[in-house]
Amino acid sequence: MATLDERARVHRLLQRTGFGSTGPTGSADDAAGEGWDRALDRVLDTDDDPGAPPPPDLGPLPERGKAGDEAADGARQAYRRAVREQREELTVWWLDRMAATERPWIEKRTLLWHDHWATSVQKVKSGRAMLAQNQTLRSLGAGEFRTLARAMVQDPALMLWLDASGNTAEAPNENLARELMELFVLGVGHYEEDDVRQAAAALTGWSVDRRGDGEWKARFRPQRHADGAQTVLGTRTDFTATSLVDHLVAQPACPRHVASRLWARLVSAENGPSDASLDRIAAAGDLTAVVRAILTDPAFADPANVLVKQPVEYVVGTLRALGIRPARLEGKARGQLLRTLGGLGQTPFAPPSVGGWPHGAAWLTTAAARVRIGFAQQAVRQGNLDAVRSAPAKERPGELARLLGVPAWSERTGAVLADAAGEPERVAAIAVTAPEYLVQP
């Protein structure tokens, strides 16, 4: 197996644990000189980034107004407007934080967990509940998976998303129990249908308290809980929500499932880990140790394990390289930015389904290519191109490679860029649409 040299490995590390450039203060290329061990420690250092834009203060949504009641039409409109405004404020805030942070791994990691516990504001409606979930994912995303899983099973946004409120003893709703096993903790093939039904019974009685103007809270109503013991994966006991999570997380399948999902985003969506690697990674310990084990696996340094940038990585990476801050864009430009992400198929807080976002070649469609071309043209108009403008025309392609964190343009792309190098905006826009930028080496 071929192996990247240290510089290329550090470059890959910074790309994949961040958004393609190290941020406003320097390009990935500058940082690649620091050496592997130091770079890895620095990335995984879990300190907070106190300078990152703080979350917005989102209030409760107004009363919804009853469907079909004409007198409530005004209330319904106000409700929809509030939902839309909260959603936009929340999304722009997170994008802005991703674009501004000095510790991109914290945001990237939070995005990976958002993909894992995929919950959409489309159904949840409350921006405040989505933000609370985002904070949980951010603060618990580097510790024990069990702690994260315990918090998520009682996360009001996730519970609402998966209809937990309707899960009662008399007619259990299996949605949360099923996805807990299939997607969040164990993976397909590690449980039977009966386990799902029994786990749903164990979770009966839990609902979301949405009364008043306070934050939503998980609430247990014993009269709705199915009494007695349940049998889940061979263990019979009277499970609580927490003991059920603990039981699932203790299965050998759990660390392997979690490691495989992280692997697909950090190493390769096509080439899974070897059994030996998976054993080692699954046994590594807490989530930071798991990520460290993934990043130090020999496969991480295999040049064949390239990744297609997810749309959020692609867009945020470009914003960082060009010094664009979403929060500082005026209304129309913000709308364009959100439409770009929508058109590319990845809007934060709105994953398409509980399974999260697609991988790899699924992003490489003609339709997405068209959206990227539109985005590139906007971004070079909004962004800071001083470095490109001030360089002599023949050095502009190289300057753009440095800014965007592309190790080298292919001969083909180099020729196209050289052709356009006389016009700074045009050459920059072409660079942003180039295959070498979209697919991470």
Binding site: A67, R80, R84, Q122, K123, D163, S165, G166, T168, A171, N173, E174, N175, R178, E182, V188, E193, A264, A269, E270, A304, V306, G335, L338, R339, L341, G342, G343, G345, T347, A350, P352, S353, V354, G355, P358, H359, A361, A362, L364, T365, T366, A367, A369, R370, V371, I373, G374, R412, T413, A415, V416, A420, I430, T433, P435, E436, L438, V439, P441
Partner: protein, 417 residues
């Protein structure tokens, strides 16, 4: 523009279409494509397949409703439709009250209801079940979709033979050597200089990773698609691209029931693109469109009625527009839902459901047996029709293909075409 463009089930647990697409990356270039015979318009007598995927698991029992069966009312008292509400089809069955257009087509003999369709040992996972449906591989997902394998059998590897309306490609259209094209609603105009850049950036380059080659090819495909599908703004025809977070269809607030397994989309707008392409004589033989939001664990009646209404209106209007063009529409979902209702007026994941096939070439009526409510297993319906029978019929009689080559030897067909 986001909700309908989401290709929902290409995920960790699903099809590895990525690998298939990557493998096909260098199989065609724009020049080869343009040089191929595909630039010729479609032959007049060639039939067209429009596959409508309902994401989330549509409740078959409330679509083709056994309203006269007392067991149906016992199983879901709050969810059941009365005999006087449904649109009668005979044999004790009736269509959901929201499907008046489909009833009209039934009366004209242009709606086939294939009953009890699923695969052996149905899986209750959205992702796994949708993967199985899209790959037509009942034993578990394989890396290629059934229409992707059909694309592979054509010698020219033309991606435009199968087109998906949306931003990302459903696994359905991923072959080993060829992937269908994704065409998006609306979007910016591509100026001549950018078209040229796309062509140049798409030039094959030795020694690059297949995914990077695929990224380059997507730019070349874009140029091709713009060439063939025209390069004008579509906003006026299909509604302006919206803020991705803008509520659609006034549905905001009403769609709480079915959200977590794919959300609703603008099916009518997607079909408007298809209709335009068909009438323009584009050589595409298979189109994929979708409608999401059918995961009705809660408040099912409101959500499903609204969605089936959208489906009915969109498909009926579309078929009116393409009259005389030999179009066959097939509507399916990854599973039906549990026969017994749950506590919040919804249903959990189930097994078999009806596949609806519509259009002038179709032989209307019932095909396959209705699964009985008297022998449920764990409250789930039996499977009476193998889903590959439906695919084999569509492959043989719409796409003029040999089903056995595409369905691993399966060539049993049904009489609906």
């Amino acid at each position: 523009m986001d909700t309908w463009t989401r290709r929902k089930f290409l995920t960790t647990s699903g099809v590895t279409a990525g690998a298939a697409l990557a493998a096909g990356a260098t199989a065609y270039t724009v020049d080869r494509l343009l040089a191929s015979g595909a630039a010729e318009p479609r032959a007049r007598d060639a039939k067209i397949l429009v596959l409508v995927t309902l994401y989330g698991g549509n409740d078959g029992l409330n679509t083709v409703v056994p309203a006269s069966d007392p067991a149906y009312h016992d199983l879901r008292p709050d969810l059941a439709y009365g005999e006087d509400e449904v649109l009668p089809l005979g044999e004790g069955l009736g269509l959901n009250p929201g499907m008046k257009g489909f009833k009209g087509l039934w009366d004209e003999g242009q709606l086939a209801v294939v009953r009890g369709v699923s695969y052996p040992r149905p899986d209750h996972s959205h992702f796994r079940s949708m993967s199985i449906w899209q790959t037509a591989s009942p034993s578990g997902p394989v890396p290629t979709g059934w229409l992707g394998r059909w694309l592979d059998t054509a010698e020219d590897h033309d991606p435009l033979r199968a087109v998906s309306v949306g931003a990302t490609l459903p696994p359905l259209l991923a072959g080993e050597r060829t992937a269908g094209a994704a065409v998006q609603l609306g979007g910016a105009r591509l100026t001549a200089p950018w078209q040229r850049v796309c062509g140049e950036l798409a030039r094959a380059q030795d020694g690059v990773h297949p995914l990077q080659a695929r990224a380059a090819a997507s730019l070349g495909d874009l140029r091709t698609v713009v060439d063939r599908f025209g390069n004008e703004e579509r906003e006026e025809a299909t509604g302006a691209p919206q803020d991705p977070d803008e509520p659609r269809d006034g549905a905001e607030g009403e769609d709480d029931g079915g959200g977590s397994a794919g959300s609703q989309g603008q099916l009518a707008a997607q079909l408007a693109v298809v209709s335009e392409a068909i009438r323009a004589g584009v050589p595409t033989r298979a189109y994929s469109v979708s409608l999401g939001g059918f995961d009705t664990h809660a408040a099912e009646k409101t959500t499903q009625t609204r969605l089936l209404g959208q489906l009915d209106e969109a498909v009926t209007g579309f078929l009116r527009q393409v009259r005389g063009e030999n179009v066959v529409v097939a509507v399916y979902s990854e599973f039906g839902r549990r026969a017994r209702a749950n506590a919040n007026q919804g249903t959990d994941h189930g097994t078999s459901g009806p596949v609806l096939v519509l259009g002038e070439p179709v032989r209307g009526g019932f095909h396959g047996d209705q699964p009985g409510l008297d022998h449920l297993r764990d409250d789930d319906l039996a499977t009476t029709t193998d889903f590959r029978d439906v695919y084999a019929t569509l492959l043989e009689r719409v796409l003029d293909a040999d089903p056995g080559r595409i369905l691993d030897g399966h060539d049993r067909t049904l009489a609906f075409l």
